[in-house]
Each structure stands twice: as C-alpha cells, then as structure tokens.
Symmetry: C2
Subunit: 717 residues, 2 copies
C-alpha cells in the first residue's frame, strides 16, 4: 500500500517531496533533529488505544487530550510520509475513525466566553485548529484507508465540522480577526483533503465571494498595516501567522493562479518580516498589549513563517540566525535550503534585526511602533521599543508612548504582560482574569506618564480605537539613534511627546538610553512618570521615608488600587537610583526637581492571588508644562555564584534640563569624562533641514534637523 | 631559558608533569577546554602594563584588581609551564616585581570588621589568598628570573607577608577555622617556593609544634566531624576545602612521610565526599547557615576537590558526573585520569548521591545533617534536607529541625540564605547586613516551627552552640525513606520531633514528602509551622480574608518584624493549598484543625532594601502537645511559553492524624486510588526490633521498628 507509485498531492505538498525531505533527514543536521523531535513526541503514544475524552476547561485533561490527539494524527501522518513506516499511518487512521464514530454523538460544550462553543472544545477556535491539523494528517494517510473508512471519517467528522463553521456559525466565519485566519485555513485545508472545491472557494474568497468582506485574501489584505504590523501585537501576530502560512502554502500549490506570495504587494513577506522585527535579541517577543512575557520565536507559527519566508523571499543572515536559535525547522520541503544554511553555522549567530519603525493602520498613517537597536563592542544588543500606534483592538493596553528597554539578555524597563494564566485550569480555566482589566491594561502598569492618576482614554477601548500616536521622527542608524512621537488625544487637554535616544559613547560599556517625556497643559496636573523594573535597589541619592510597619494603597482605581506604597522621598535636585537585575546594574538619572519619588509594589486588591509581585517607581510632579528627562545607564557585572562584582556604580552623574519649549528640548548629561548636550526638536513637521532655535534665559541653542548632540557642554554648537 | 632541561619541583607538582598535562591538552576534551578557559581569561590582560592600585572596599576596583592580579600571576605562571610560551613567564615576573617594589610602601587598610587588615585588602584573609596564588605563580616562573629579581620579589613581597601572618598576626595563625586553612596553606606553599622550611613546619605543625593546637594537621583533624561534615555548612566548606586540597597536594609531594591522604582515617577523602553529598541534584549547595543560594559545584574549590578525590581515592560514577557537569577540570597532573573518564561520557549523567546522614561534632555525637534522595521513573531526583545537628558557629542559623525540599531542578521548600550582597560595594561593602541577624538567621526565616513567636535559643549563638539535635532514626534506602530527630533544647520546656518521609507511590509522578512535626509541652503555646515557597498561589480549600487595602506587621521582633500579613484564614477541617513554581505545581496538605493560615511576605522594616521580596505561609495553632502532619505532592506541568498546562490539580486529597503519643504517631493519607496509613515511632531508643503500640480511641495500631506504612486504611497491619 505504497503512496510512492505516483505522486500524491496533499494540501501542503506532495508525497515525492516529503519522501525527499525524509531522505535529507537521515543524516545529521537540523532536519534530522526536527524529525527526531517529532518521532520522540509521538513515540510514547504509539502503543495507546484510541482515547477520546469528553469536554473540559482549558488546561483540563479532556481539553489537552483533544489538542494533542489532533497533533498526533497530523504528526503520525507526516511521519508516515517521511519514513514510509505503516505503523504511523495505522495510528492516524485508527484515531481519526475513533473521532468520526463519536463526533456527532457529542453535545456542544457549554458556552463560557464570547466565542461560540464546539463539541470538543469550549470555543470553536480550538475546534477549527483541531480540524486543520487532523485533516492535514488525514491527507497524508488517506490512500492507505479503505473507501468505507474514508467515508466514515469524511461524513462523520470533516463534513459536520465544515458545516458547523460555515453554516451553523456562518456569522463568525468572515470576521477579519486572528480567529478568522484559523477559520478559513481550517476550512480551506480540510476542503482540499476531501476534495470539496466549494469550501476552498469560500475559504479563499469569503461568503460574499468578493475577496473583501471575508475569506483568506481579505484577511491578509485587511489584517495588517502596510508595514506588515498586526494591530494586536506580536503575541497574537505569531498566533495568526501560523494558519496564514499553512494556507498560503496550500494555495501556492493548489491555486497557483492566485500568485499568493506576491499578493497585495507581497503582504505575506512584509508581515513575516514585521513579526520577526519586533523580537528582542534573545528571541522573546515584547509583551505588547495582551501577551505573555515568554512567547518567543520557538513558537510553531514562527518556525513555520521563518522557513516559508526564507523559501519564498530569499536569504537573510538574520533569518538564518533565527532558524539556528529555533533549533528545529518546519518539516516541509520548502525548508530544505534554509536547513542547509543552518547546518553550515557553528556558533550561535546574533539575531540582529535593524532598527525599524512599523507603521500602523490600513494606510499606514495611524501611528507606528518603533524599535531602536544598538550593539556594543562586546556584541550585546540594546533594544528600545516604543508604542506610538493604535490601540490593540480587544486586546489593547492603554499605553501609547510606553517604552521598554532590553539588553544583556533581559527586559529592563518592563512590561507586565497580560493578567492571565493560559491553560491553567485552576486559574479561571486559563481565561483572562479580572486583573487584566483592572491592572495589566491600565496606563500605570506601563512605562508611561499617568495624568491625574487616570488611564489613557479613560480605559475605554472604543475611545482608544479612534485615536493613535503621531510619529514625529525616527532615526534608526548610527551610534546615536532616536525616535520621537506625540500622543495628544489620550488624556483630555494634555499634549504629550516622548523622545527616546539610544546613544553609544566610548566612555560607557553599553548604550545609554535618554528618555525625554514632555507634557503640555494650561492647567496644572499630577503627573506620574512610571518605571517598571525588576531586581534589587542598590542605592540612591535621595532621602526617603520607608513605610516600615505598614503598606497602604496608592490609589483607588485605574490600577493604583493594586499598588502598595513601599517608600517615598522628595526629589529636590535630580535623582540618581541604581538597581541590580540579575548580573547587571542599571542607574536611572532624572533631571526632576520639586518632585516626589514613590517606590511601589503590586499586590493590593488581589484576593485570588492572580497578580505577580512586581516593583515600580513613580516620579510624581505637579505641573502644567513639564519635561521628564531621564538617562538610563547599564553598567557593571555581578555574579553571585562566583561572588564577583565590579562596576556597581555607574559613570553618569547628572542629567539636567537646560530648557524646553514648543520648538525644542535641551538637556545636558554629565559624568566621568562625559559632557553632552542633547537637543531635540519638538515642532511637528520638522525635517532634516529645519533650523531649530531654543532660547533659554541667557543661552541660545540652535541646531539643524530632528536632533543634535554635542560632546561638550558649550551651547550653540 | 628552558625549564625542561631537568625536572623542577614546584609546590604542587613538577615541570615535567605539567609539560605532560600541556601535551594532553592539545587535543579535544575537558583538559583542552580547561586550558582554553584559562588562556581566554588571561588573554585580555597580556598587553596591559602593571596595574597596582591602592586599597578599596570589597567589590571596589582596587579590591577586584588585587584579587585578579594574584590570579593573573598564578595563571600565567601555570600556562607558561603548560605551553612553554615565554610571554606568560614575562608577564608573571613583571607583575610580581611591581608588587614587590610597592608592597612595603603601602599602608595597612583601615580595619572594618573582626579580621585584621592587610596592606592590599581590608582583611588578611584576602591577603593570604593573594599570597597563596601569587607564590604558586612565582614558583612556576622562578627559574626564568635573574637572581636580583628573585631577591626583590622574595624580600619585598613574600618574606614581609610571611612575617605579617606568622608574627604580626601570630595570635590569629593557629585559629581552627576556615580562615586558618587559608593561612597555613598560604604560608606553607609560599615557604615552599622560597625554600624556607621553617615556615613549612610552622604551617604543618602549628606554632606550638604539637600538631594539635594549630597548623594544617590540627586544622584537618579538628575542623571536621567523623563523617567529614563541616560545622559551618557547605557554603563555607567549599571555601575551606580549596586551600585544604592545595596544601595537601603540596605535602603529598614535599612531605611524603606524612602520608597525608591517609592521615586521620582518610579525613580528606571523607570531607570531600561529605561536601559533595550535600549538593542538590542540579549542583547547587543547600544554603545551610550563612550561605548564598547560588553557590554550587562550579566553585573552584570543588573543582579542585573532585580531581584530587578521584585521583587519590579512586573512581566513582557520580564523581565523574560531577566533573562532567563542572565542564572543566583542575589543571593539575593528578586530574588526567578523571579527564579521560569525563571525555568518554556523552549525555550529561545524573548526579545521584545516595541518601546519607552526616554526623556532627568531633566525636560524631552532636547531631547530624540528613539527606534523603529518591529518583522517579523519569529520572527526576527529589531531595529532602534536614538539619538536626549543631549550630553553625559564627555563621549559624537558628533552624534546628529545619527542612528543605528540592526537585525538578528547583528548591521548593526554600532557604532564604544569608542577608548579604557579596562583594557589592554599594551594599555595605559586600559584608553581612543587619538583616542577616534580624531576618536570615531567625527561626521564622526557615521551614521550622516557631514557638510563641520567638527564636530558637533566643537567637543567642553561645547558647545554641551548647545544644544540638538528637538523631532518632535514618532509613536512606528503598522506596520509602525516612529520617527523624529530636530537638528538646531549642525552645524552653518544649519537646520537638520532626520526621520526614520521602515515599514513591506508583499512583504519583513524583515522591511525596510526609512531614510530621510533633511538639510537646505541658503549657499551651502559640506554634507557627512555617513554609517558605516561591511562585503563585493557584487554589486552596479554605476561606480566607485578603488584606486588600493595607498590609500590616506580623510581629515586632525575632524576624516577624520583617513580615507583612497578606491574608489570613481559618483551617477547620484540614488544609489543601496548591502553588505553581515555574513549571511545576505543588500541593500542601495539612491535617490541622482549629488552626489559622497566614499568608505573609517579607519587606517590612527594610529601609535599605536589603531583603528580597519572598513569600511564606504560617500555619498557626495554640496547643500544648500537637502534631503538624503535612504531605507535599509534586504534580503537573506548566510551560508558559508553549502555553501547555496539565495536572494543575494533585491526586492527594487529605491527610489526617489518627493519633500521636509518646510512643508513636499515626496518620492517614488518602487520594485518588491512595489509602495509606503511616506509623512512626516517637520513642527514643527505638530499634528495628521494637514493637510499637499506639492506642487511640477504639483503635490500636502496632508495628515493628522505626516506621511502617500500610497501603490501605485498615489499622493494625
């Protein structure tokens, strides 16, 4: 019963090509390792009898078992094609038959959230994912089954599911959304396995057949901005890109006339690039919007996207480095060239994407996400991320102008991520927790400025969806990079501009981050410049009072109800504060005077223990127009196990605001052998040729273009 | 100027043997890797001119520089012998000359702690370590220097140091202490390099020459108990073992008549074994007494001890696995056989020491340290550590009967470790912090029972030094292991017994820990059964009130002043509480009724931010005689990055106390398919033949020996 007598078409490839891939995987190298990973995963199950449980919560045995079963069917089917070992085909056939005999006898799951329920899972999203993988597996072994068994599987399982997704829940099928991509990919790919072209058409063109209101072509045209960025952020992007890549590859094979890889100005290439370009140098994705802090390039969707991108859009050293870090490869014939490249590499190559600004919105004019990256002499990459784009739809956080800093293999100015324990049954069935709204999405939970202890756009998603940040300038090359943006519609009557500069100085081991957060208002407001850090406070130049015997609430809502005050001190003449995070010291210098520093910790109003204990700092100032000017120095080295410590004190001493007007901001940074003046344009519409002038008291500062830095403290250079 | 024309004796070996080692390191394998590590470490310094700073705090540039300079001198000297490259010899010679010209012109460091100051360092301990390594380096290159330079180095540097340690601070030289080992090794080894036998005698025999009141032989005879355990615990043990090994190897070569490796019933072998046997399966040492949480088998002292132990006391698979995990080897000819063994291994071998009880005190009758270890079917090792020995001298914690639990690559029931940021200049010069006494050493900071919110022995070291735990029984083999001990002199008028059982059950994925902590007193007392954990609370069966809007102090002294109360609830009918630590779930079952559970967190009264934020649980009960009976189940798997979760709820349901008397304790454990009765003897003097009878209400339980377990809930088996 060999499939080798002719070349069989599967949804994603052909039998002969998989046979070739299997041959290529017999030696050493990343293909062999990936096949080994797959066979190791399947091995413990091969002796099991068919196990089809009932229904359960996310994280429950039943939920996990169904998920795993689909992947066993797909994995054994694939491995059958790679190895021609009939044991795998028999396994997949038996389990498919088991499901086919039971499926229609199972009740619908009681509905628990906004997604309609399935028969196997609590939401049809999971059922669609199940169908996609189970039908891939079925495709690989279909020829090994007698006709009546095929009939049982197709009529008892696949057609009912196709009906469920396209008829029963037809209202949901065309939704332009990450779930929508899974829906069309599942329907399209399963339709290819049963040879039902009408469902393929539906999946490609949408119910209206217009390729605009629904279907795969509409999804990929409308989900991403021209830069390829996905509005919900990388956590949901990597989830959406998986079905996108699978169905794209299927259409490449079965509907070559669509020329899918060139579709819509190569949107698939752009969106793969955009996803990868958000990642930190260690491969983790910044937790923008609702997102876990640990999602990374190991995710299967990213593994698929890397192979597919390399195959269809050509070589890139960084892409190869990403594949190398992933340590495995998509088991698809298109991955073979990439695998060969990876096998030539010995030491892990750095994943160094260039600095990039990713525009947002259908026309690319609804703000952007900025990523600055600078490498130091020892090869360490610093990355600064700034959000000046759109609100992230249903998963958005109220953190426009929020930044993160990453270096030395860790996030330094940190995102909290979502309030959710994914798939942990005992934590609300793994769903989003109330604290996701009350803490994780609030402005104060981010590295932002909070006005009057409120939340941007009053924490109303509808309102936030209507506004966005406004890019000012972005310079992503050289040893002094910078990005600047406005957000004038996020707090009532408040103008906000944030400029982040990442600068390499020969005197410092790591690039320094200069952060200029400017607020303008005719009335005085209470501004909280908030920083989220991890680790231990080492020293500070201010006197503070520590709440030794009690902790009290910092506020009553907008996230403040989750913060306890730990200590508080007046900042009268600039701030210097050093903390230790793992092996690295970080010193924060602020120019503020007449301000107050609050040390705070999460934990209040969390009776279910749903939040992690985290620390933050709030620099509080009562003002109308003000400029929070900060410098962040990375320095020293601490290794507790070997008891080595050096450089606990940084080289920077002071940052001062020399002036800030609607035209520009001028600050001075001083330290050991360092005297710098930094001038930044605040005028919307600035160009590289604009002449900027800022007059402050007796000094006049002038420079051309977006920003200027002088390496001494004489003004007017 | 070759040293190869004849075989030159160095303190630790000969030129020909080092030449052989260098040859062996030219291929691949662990010797080559170790040489590469050394040359990589030296490489950045070879072009530097001699840099001899003044004096500074621990962690300061000056302090680090001096430390590093000694290691550069030693390292380049050694590498010269391994490679015959004269560049290395020149470097060592130049730096030694630099020091020799300056040393006597430097003032003594201002004294900061109880140790006398040196000229280079704030305490002579560091100066002795400096001398040891610098003189080793000198030995390797001595023959390359003209006579006048040798004269300068010996007269300007080594003799003054020898004089300092043996005359100026002669009162300190014979102290039996870990510092004392460094002192004698430094004096002995440097005396060998300058050929001054009288100092070698002094270092071996002590000032009185009696080999009992001081000197190396007295140190190794008196510092360790018959089991080889070092009273201060593994953190200081690994520090003491380094000079011990170096000087032992020197005496093996230069004073063979001492037969040092058989001295005192092979005390050197025993103490190496004892140190290694304390380590967790991941190579970290449990933080007993003052200790960091991260000290591990990578420490140079341990690397030296492993090679030396293997060479002089023979092969052991576990020793080889330790060396393999270390990833490098002591660059000494004696390490060559071990290196060959390591090079034959491919996958990392498990470090599985047998369960062991290490007795304490000069005659082995002052209590013991117990280590139970059980491996599960998947190879994961669980380890339970219990301290029922002596107070740890100046570095002792008040935690007799304290336990820790380790499995799945992490400490679960946790030690806080010391209150100290070693070598962090900005944290009190890296010295012990006030919180070491006020928190880290207190009973409440350990997994212990605290009586009346006090501290064992009133936190007085003198008093604690006079008492010790009393071993009851220790069964370290089979699928049901147990250890039991008494501590009746640690709280006034309170008898205490703790029994820890580690039991493998076919129904559970990991061994279950049963913890029976029995207290006896004629009066009622407030007992706090304390557990230190890390991670997130997942669920519990009790109702509790969460202090939503404030946190208040748990007490005013004995460590309670550092604890905030987070939540509190009544335990009326047994407790079940699950937390998640990284990838693993842990469920604590307690049999307690009429008790109160307090959720607490450190952070109070810590105005310098010297403590880490950690969580603990206090099960509080007012009683005279009582038995805290607990079971700890390890279960499930959570992987946030891949969003996989299974087994969040454990299989165990309930633990109950059926009875406890002076004769014995009887508890019942139930869960899914689990019905166990556990009977433990409480009678001092119990033997394997003792017939135990416990009568409770209408039931009689009898068993023979230390403990018994039945696999159903019928008594009297």
């Amino acid at each position: 019963m060999s499939t080798m007598s002719h070349d069989t078409l599967f949804p994603l490839t052909t039998a002969k090509r998989l046979n070739n891939l299997g041959q290529a995987g017999r030696g050493e190298g990343v293909i062999a390792r990936s096949i080994k990973l797959l066979s190791n995963r399947l091995e413990p199950h091969l002796q099991q009898t068919v196990q089809i449980p009932g229904q359960g919560e996310a994280g429950s045995y039943a939920h996990n078992r169904h998920k795993e079963n689909a992947r066993l069917i797909e994995g054994t089917g694939l491995l059958y094609q790679l190895t021609q070992n009939p044991v795998y085909a028999e396994f997949a056939g038996q389990w498919l038959l088991g499901y086919a005999k039971q499926y229609l006898h199972m009740d619908f799951h009681p509905q628990k959230n906004t997604n309609p329920p399935g028969r196997l899972f609590h939401q049809i999203l999971n059922e669609q994912i199940w169908l996609l993988f189970a039908s891939l597996g079925y495709g690989y072994i279909k020829e090994t089954l007698p006709g009546e068994q095929r009939e049982t599987i197709e009529q008892g399982l696949f057609y009912p599911m196709l009906h469920l997704f396209t008829e029963t829940y037809r209202h949901d099928f065309d939704r332009i959304h990450n779930h929508g991509l899974w829906a069309v990919a599942a329907v399209g790919i399963s339709a290819l396995t049963v040879g039902e072209e009408k469902y393929v058409d539906l999946a490609v063109d949408g119910q209206a057949g217009d390729r605009e209101s629904g279907g795969f072509l509409a999804q990929i045209s409308r989900l991403f901005s021209p830069s390829g960025y996905y509005v919900e952020g990388p956590y949901y992007h990597r989830f959406a890109i998986h079905p996108l890549c699978l169905f794209a590859e299927a259409l490449h094979l079965h509907r070559p006339e669509l020329d899918i890889y060139n579709y819509k100005d190569r949107v698939i290439h752009k969106t793969i690039q955009a996803l990868l370009a958000t990642a930190y140098p260690n491969g983790d994705f910044p937790a923008l919007n609702d997102a876990s802090r640990t999602m990374n390039i190991q995710d299967e969707g990213v593994v698929t996207a890397v192979a597919l991108g390399y195959s269809h859009y050509g070589h890139s050293d960084t892409l190869t480095a990403v594949a190398q870090r992933q340590g495995r490869i998509w088991l698809h014939p298109c991955a073979q060239t990439l695998a060969q490249q990876v096998d030539t590499l010995k030491e892990q190559q750095p994943i160094h994407w260039p600095s990039i600004e990713l525009n947002e919105g259908p026309d690319g004019n609804r703000g952007a996400q900025g990523y600055l990256r600078l490498q130091n002499a020892r090869g360490d990459l610093s990355q600064v991320t700034m959000n000046y784009g759109q609100h992230g739809m249903d998963h958005g956080h109220f953190d426009t102008l929020g930044i993160t800093l990453f270096n030395r293999d860790q996030e330094v100015l940190r995102e909290y991520g979502f309030g959710r324990w994914v798939n942990v049954e005992s934590k609300f069935g793994g769903r989003y927790l109330p604290q996701n709204h009350s803490w994780a999405r609030q402005t104060v939970a981010h590295n932002c400025v909070v006005v009057d202890q409120l939340c941007q756009n009053n924490a109303e998603a509808d309102r936030a969806d209507q506004v966005h940040g406004q890019p000012h300038f972005f310079i992503g090359q050289g040893n002094a990079q910078a990005m600047s943006a406005f957000a004038n519609h996020h707090f009532r009557d408040i103008g906000m501009q944030r400029t982040a500069l990442l600068i390499s100085l020969p005197e410092l081991d790591f690039p320094v981050l200069i952060d200029l957060y400017r607020l303008s208002s005719r009335q005085a407001h209470l501004y909280d410049y908030v920083l989220h850090y991890a680790g231990q406070i080492m020293q500070t130049n201010i006197d503070y009072s520590y709440d030794k015997e009690q902790r009290s609430l910092l506020g009553s809502n907008n996230g403040y109800q989750h913060l306890f005050q730990v200590a508080k001190g007046d900042v009268t003449n600039g701030l210097k504060l050093t903390w230790l995070q793992n092996k690295s010291f970080y010193t924060w210098l602020s120019a503020s005077t007449a301000a107050e520093l609050i040390f705070a910790q999460t934990g209040a109003n969390d009776p279910e223990f749903n939040l992690r204990t985290e620390n933050c700092l709030l620099l509080r100032k009562n003002a109308g127009d003000t400029l929070f000017a900060s410098a962040f120095e990375t320095h020293g080295h601490f290794d507790e196990a070997s008891e080595y410590c050096a450089g606990a004190t940084g080289a920077l001493e002071r940052i001062e605001v020399l002036g800030h007007t609607a035209q520009g901001s001028v600050v001075r940074l001083t330290g050991k052998d360092i005297h710098m003046t930094i001038m930044v344009s605040n005028a919307p519409g600035v160009t590289p040729k604009t002449q900027n002038i800022v007059e402050v008291e007796n000094d006049t500062y002038h420079w051309q273009g977006f920003f200027a830095i002088t390496d001494n403290n004489v003004a007017g250079v």
